[in-house]
């Protein structure tokens, strides 16, 4: 009986890996780097987490989890409350509904898929923030952020794949 409790605990903790890693990315995004190169363009790392886990473990990156992560991101980043929540939720929904397409496909297909989801997410975020603050924000900074996020995808998806193999294979 004791063993099964421990097992369940172990199981539960392993299942926290996808939202936990994505939450870590939200926090990492907020760490001040004090480097001039990174002051204006910061990649939207949590979006990579939402996208990756929506494909490979949509049971652990459910709409509720994506929504909650978005709220946390809104509070930390200072964006109007609800914007990231909606963006992550829609990214989750869009990706999870198409996930069978990505299974067993080479990496570049998943990357290409992320470009699609990412461009939609950035455009939506830009439109929502512009609407809510009543001022059209400049698009070129958003474009740079999108490109930075795109280039961060290979490394992060490699780390996620390692974590998935090590911690979630049995679960």
């Amino acid at each position: 009986m004791k063993g099964s409790l421990l097992q369940r605990l172990d199981h539960g903790i392993r299942h926290l890996v996808p939202p936990g890693l994505t939450l870590l990315l939200i926090l990492l995004d907020a760490v001040p780097l004090h480097l001039p190169e990174f002051a204006l363009v910061v990649p939207l790392l949590p979006l990579i987490g939402v996208y990756y886990w929506s494909i490979y473990r949509p049971d652990l990156m459910s709409p509720v989890v994506a929504f909650g992560l978005g709220i946390v991101n809104d509070v930390i980043a200072g964006t109007p409350l609800g914007v990231s929540a909606l963006v992550y939720l829609l990214a989750q929904g869009m990706t999870a509904s198409q996930r069978r397409f990505f299974h067993g496909k080479p990496f570049r297909i998943a990357w290409w898929g992320f470009a699609l989801v990412g461009s939609g997410a950035f455009l939506l975020q830009w439109a929502l923030v512009s609407l809510l603050i009543g001022h059209r924000l400049e698009l070129h900074a958003v474009l740079f952020e999108f490109l930075m996020t795109m280039f961060s995808y290979p490394l992060l998806s490699w780390i996620f794949a390692r974590a998935q193999l090590a911690l979630l294979r049995s679960a």
Partner: protein, 290 residues
């Protein structure tokens, strides 16, 4: 057998429907939050502050190694420009020595004049120094989180200063966290003066590195290099705090280069000048004190 699979199929359809319903209600909730943020700012601010208070201790720990890395990178960069920097500093030092002499003379003169006038000095402002623990950067907002809040005496609307320069004001206060709205943020509007011509204007952020001067009269003859200081109008900041210099005047758009850049901010000073300001009092932080 057939009946069994039919029941399973119905169950699957029901489950799918429930999932769709949950998804839709979450999307509606997100829209609701956005509208709520527009309508009832107090409630939304309370929520934001509660989450920020919970997260700031973690960010505080994470930001320390990041600070160390930035120090190393900065040291390497300094090594590369050591010689040029030395020459520049020598020139600046000569220049400053001249100003020091002038300042001593003026200080003496000022003291003598004040003594003749029975001048009442302004009370010294109290201040708190806090660490910047959260800065998401990026195009959408120009604000940062500090690791000090209402418990440390920070109040909404107080001026945030780095060195001698105004960098922003406190926009949200929690128990142990506070959010600084930088002068470059789109919601920042600060009454300013051009130091030389005394022309009044409003320094308006637009989420770029260089905020704009609005409502500047065309006869003010603004030139690149003119210093911009706070005017003290509106009562949010004391007059005379330097913010930046005019960097460009193009087609009537005057842009200001702030003295302090966002990435340079590691520690900031939150100053209480005892000015009530134009901001309404903050129910969140006041509620915590009681």
């Amino acid at each position: 057998m057939k009946q069994h699979s039919g029941a399973l199929g119905r169950l699957a359809t029901l489950k799918q429907l429930a999932q769709r319903f949950a998804f839709l209600s979450l999307a509606m909730a997100a829209f609701g939050l956005m509208l709520l943020g527009k309508a009832d700012t107090v409630l939304v601010e309370r929520m934001r502050v509660a989450v920020a208070d919970a997260v700031v201790p973690i960010l505080d720990v994470l930001s320390r190694p990041a600070g160390a890395i930035a120090d190393v990178v900065g040291a390497v960069r300094e090594l590369a420009t050591l010689r040029a920097e030395n020459v520049r500093l020598r020139e600046e030092n000569a220049n400053l020595l001249h100003w020091q002499t002038l300042a001593r003379q003026l200080d003496n003169e000022n003291r003598a004049l004040k003594a003749q006038l029975n001048f009442l000095p302004d009370p010294d402002p109290s201040f708190i120094t806090a660490r910047v623990v959260g800065d998401t950067g990026g195009a959408f907002v120009h604000s940062m989180l500090l690791n000090a809040g209402a418990h440390d005496g920070i109040r909404k609307g107080q001026a945030v200063i780095a060195g001698e320069f105004l960098v922003g004001r406190i926009a949200e206060v929690g128990g142990r966290s506070a959010r600084v709205l930088l002068i470059t943020d789109i919601n920042s509007h600060i009454p300013v003066l051009l130091e030389n011509s005394r022309a009044k204007a409003i320094l308006t952020g637009d989420n770029t590195d260089r905020p704009r001067l609005s409502y500047l009269s065309t006869s003010s003859n603004a030139q690149p290099g003119d210093r911009v200081v706070s005017s003290g109008h509106g009562g949010a900041f004391p007059p005379g705090l330097p913010l930046g210099v005019i960097s460009s005047v193009q087609d009537g758009v005057v842009r200001v280069e702030p003295f302090v850049h966002r990435y340079q901010l590691e520690y900031v000073t939150v100053v209480d000048y005892g000015l009530a300001g134009i901001l309404p009092s903050d129910p969140v932080s006041e509620g915590r004190d009681r």
